[in-house]
Symmetry: C2
Subunit: 105 residues, 2 copies
C-alpha cells in the first residue's frame, strides 16, 4: 500500500497555486491544492460542471460566491459547492501555505 502525506512535497516558493491529482476515476477527482497568498483571477467566477467538496487542512482562505455571503475557512472547515455555483477565492494566507483537499464529483 502506497502511503503519502498531504503536507509533504511542498516547495519553498511557487509562483502559481499548486494542484496535484491524488486519485481519480470516471466519477471523481481527488486533488490537493496548495495556495500561498494566491487567489482566483481578479475577474470572473469559477463555474464548474461538477460538484466540489472541499476542506482546508492547513492555513486559511476566503471564498466569495455570486449569490451568497463570503465564507472564511480555517483548518478543518469543509463545505460542498454544488455544480454551477459561481465562486472564487478572494484571499489565502500570504505568509504560509494553505492546503486544500478538493473532491470533484
Amino acid at each position: 500500500m502506497k502511503l503519502a502525506n498531504i503536507f509533504d512535497s511542498i516547495p519553498d516558493s511557487f509562483e502559481q497555486e499548486l494542484s496535484q491529482l491524488l486519485a481519480q476515476n470516471e466519477n471523481l477527482r481527488i486533488e490537493r491544492i496548495v495556495s500561498k497568498g494566491h487567489t482566483s483571477p481578479a475577474s470572473g467566477w469559477y463555474d464548474q460542471e461538477e460538484n466540489e467538496w472541499l476542506i482546508v487542512l492547513k492555513g486559511a482562505a476566503i471564498l466569495a460566491f455570486e449569490h451568497a455571503d463570503d465564507v472564511r475557512l480555517k483548518c478543518g472547515d469543509y463545505l460542498n459547492i454544488p455544480a454551477h455555483t459561481r465562486h472564487r477565492v478572494t484571499w489565502t494566507e500570504p505568509d504560509s501555505e494553505t492546503v486544500w483537499l478538493a473532491i470533484h464529483y
Copy 2:
C-alpha cells in the same frame, strides 16, 4: 453556503467508532470516521465493493492488509485502498480521537 468543521461535534466518549456521512451522490460517499482505541472486529476483513481513499486528519492508526504489510498512519497520511483489497484496522490511539476522512467511490 453551509460550513462545518471536521473536528467539531465529537462526543467526550463513545462506545463504538463514529461514522458520519458528509456528502454523497450515486458515485461516492464522503464520510467522517472517529475512533478512540477502536479497531475492526477481531476476526475477518473488510472486503469492500468500492474503492476507498482515506486520510487521517488527527491521531494515528494501523491498518493491516491480507496481502501487504501493515501501514501506520499519522496526521496527513493518505492512501488508496482498491475495491476488494482485504484490510482491517488493528490499532488506533487509545487516549485521544483519531479522525479519518474516507471517500468511497
